[in-house]
Symmetry: C2
Subunit: 325 residues, 2 copies
């Protein structure tokens, strides 16, 4: 593998000039630059990332820790992050925590050796640990707020509030909310937003759970819905799918007997019978923004604000006015 030295030699200049010709074009005479460039790709020169990282102190790597990849919910996040990474000539170092705080910490430690900074999607785990980690290394949180740490959150609480508004408009007054995993930050946000808004409107939100955000848990939940509820909101698509299935087998029709909606939007929700009303969460943008924020942080721009991206309801056939009883 050709080194910069080889290139410099071939072009008849010094290592320093070669280096500048390749990424400081304005510091070098036109002719020289051309000669070096030509020599470089004649020799198939590839810059040694490690050597560069050693001097510059930047690896160009962004660590990304997600709780899982089995949930396609996270795919757009990764895609968005990758797009932003490409734009900034960096790469994604990925790790999956499996919702395990200890494992997550270990991965973060190991990733941080190689990466310039970390992006963490960490619904579980303590605030204190995250604060501590932020003190040691550049860090951007996703879908979670801890004090004034930089974060990018999808504003599902607001979106869900809007969704609830629609249900209230339709006439629903007794609404069940099927919670997500215990200790989830996002879930707590949603629960709080919903109950507050409902009581304001003279309605009531029945909270079920916490539950694991799975299809099976959704089926379970469908059996314990309060009889009064005319609509049910689910923490995520899997729960919603389980609910749909469970309601179907117990003979309750959606939306005639009960309305159903989910607080995220997997593509399958549009393909069920009936299609399920959902919240479109622009995760790709979240991913992109997270990387951008991280780079701002690395460049020393102290914009440690929380970025919010709005989530909007997508109304489908699973929501309708309650049956007049």
């Amino acid at each position: 593998m050709a080194t910069l030295m080889d290139v410099a030699h071939a072009a008849g200049v010094s290592k320093a000039t070669a280096s500048r010709a390749l990424h400081r074009p304005d510091m070098v005479a036109e002719g020289t630059r051309l000669r070096v460039r030509e020599a470089a790709d004649r020799l198939g020169f590839q810059l040694n990332a490690a050597a560069r990282a050693l001097t510059t102190g930047r690896t160009g790597l962004v660590g990304l820790i997600v709780p899982t990849l089995s949930n396609p919910f996270f795919a757009p996040l990764v895609i968005g992050a990758q797009q932003a990474a490409e734009d900034t000539e960096s790469h994604l170092l990925i790790a999956v925590s499996e919702y395990d705080a200890e494992r997550e910490a270990a991965l973060a430690d190991r990733l941080s050796e190689q990466a310039d900074g970390l992006i963490m999607v960490t619904p579980v785990g303590t605030d204190a640990a995250l604060r501590e980690r932020f003190r040691r290394q550049p860090l951007v949180l996703v879908d979670r707020q801890v004090g004034r740490l930089p974060a990018v959150v999808a504003d599902t609480a607001a979106g869900l509030a809007e969704l609830l508004g629609r249900l209230l408009d339709l006439g629903h007054r007794e609404i069940a909310y099927v919670s997500g995993p215990a200790g989830s930050w996002a879930d707590a946000q949603r629960r709080a937003a919903l109950t507050a808004q409902a009581s304001e409107a003279g309605a009531h939100v029945h909270v079920l759970g916490p539950l694991p955000p799975t299809f099976d848990a959704g089926i379970e939940a469908s059996r314990s819905l309060p009889a009064a509820a005319t609509a049910v909101l689910a923490y995520n698509s899997y729960l919603a799918l389980g609910l749909l299935h469970g309601l179907g087998t117990t003979g309750r029709r959606v939306p005639e007997d009960i309305s159903l909606a989910a607080a995220d939007d997997l593509s399958t929700l549009g393909a069920t019978t009936p299609p399920v009303t959902a919240l479109d969460v622009p995760l790709q943008q979240v991913g992109r923004l997270a990387v951008t924020r991280l780079h701002e942080l690395l460049d020393g721009q102290r914009r440690t604000v929380t970025s919010r991206v709005p989530a909007a309801p997508v109304l489908r056939a699973s929501t309708a006015p309650p049956r007049v009883s």
Copy 2:
């Protein structure tokens, strides 16, 4: 950030000894080792990955290129790869090609600057390009065979053959196969295996497609199934889900009127009505194996064989004997 030099100083030894104390324990006296270790974690020493990579020529990074992450099919692959990476103290550098050969090539080029080797899941793209790339850098292919290049493949063709066997046993003789994307290596393998085996058994396989492996394409396909077909095999779960939906809306019952099965197994297939017979592809193992193979390659063990992991049918309610006509 403390450097090795600082640690050495604190422990009253030289840089060299400090280095050895940390990862060549047997070369150093017990007492010294302890002193160095103690100093290291007192100072919160973190080894600089770039510096290490520069001298050793190993970054400890494995590049992984997948066509997409939106399909949860690939999640276990990533998980498996990550597990193997953890075991070998390395990390996953991930990139998504979006099924675009040009993009894939660019990503591979850029990843290879940083990674010790590449693992590529590349259903599209030419053999020649892969061969060429292999000449330049350690490379392991997944779900694709190109000459004698190292590869790990899930033996879906064999698994599908077994599945076809079951259908034949049930009495099916006219079977539709709904193909995957044009140019897909795996799809070609399956098609060939199926048609050969069917004609041997006096049955006939009707090939539809190629089609994009999506839910919608599955719906489309459900409208153009040959009337004679009593069973249909789909290239993947999404097509199968689409077929199930499409058949439902046109009034053909599964499995009474027609049997249905998929050549991979997303968890949702077990949750439909009826649950869909599928092929369990142990992708996690594939991912793990791919990383192992890559490391063998890096360590100079020239085991450039193709590893196969078996895929086994999971029989569910969507397959039954054909209706006697």
